[in-house]
Symmetry: C2
Subunit: 149 residues, 2 copies
Amino acid sequence: MENSKVIRHLDPRRWEGVSVLDYKEEGQHFQSITRQVLFDGETDFPCQVRYFEIDEGGHSTLERHQHVHVVMIIRGRGRVLLNDRVEEVKEFDLVTIPPQNWHQFRATEGTPLGFLCLVNVERDRPVLPGEEDLEMLRADPDIAGFIRF
Amino acid sequence: MENSKVIRHLDPRRWEGVSVLDYKEEGQHFQSITRQVLFDGETDFPCQVRYFEIDEGGHSTLERHQHVHVVMIIRGRGRVLLNDRVEEVKEFDLVTIPPQNWHQFRATEGTPLGFLCLVNVERDRPVLPGEEDLEMLRADPDIAGFIRF
């Protein structure tokens, strides 16, 4: 029988034996963001638990995809593009991002933004916005001022 | 297209529009514990995110089952039976409980213990220990002193 495991938290938002990785293995449409894989999925439970942390001034990629994100903020504050609006988020807020919603996370000035992100192990690749998508998104002045691409 | 959603955190570990429920709909082998369902699973992502909180002196059910638990402590401190040992856990520790591991959570005196628990939507029912199981568990004095049943 496989044995239970405790992965100890080490302040601030680092875990014993868990590597701090690049956000993505390739690409350039992001800034000052790291990734830690806390649970990598198992046959019986094909779900990954990742922790992302964005430093002050950084941002995740502006993207969309078919797979669902379930996100819980567990450090700091920030703002997030949720398809057609920008929302403030803070520690312990839960964000669900259904299929094909454009999204991008940014850390608020003066704080990092750290969040758990749950996904299926089997998932499609994110899609970046094309010129038409950017034009559509930028039609809203709040979104135009928020997004980084 | 389904729209993204933010469920706001309200101190302490309550969320806007999320009901605080009984831990289980029936049974009696638990004490001073509540449940909140933060994400109830979707076709594309058949995973539930629940938040459980154990008040000082309380405990979850001593049980085992085939389905996997992925747990992150997000409030306070406590101890947990993990099959053949008792471990201390604190905020942001991650606990994975593979199939058929006996487990029970207890809050440390003077603090609550609150944790996220991820599970498959489709899962088997927990099994309680029989006399032989209890005898086996109680063979270890640390476990004998820890478990509540």
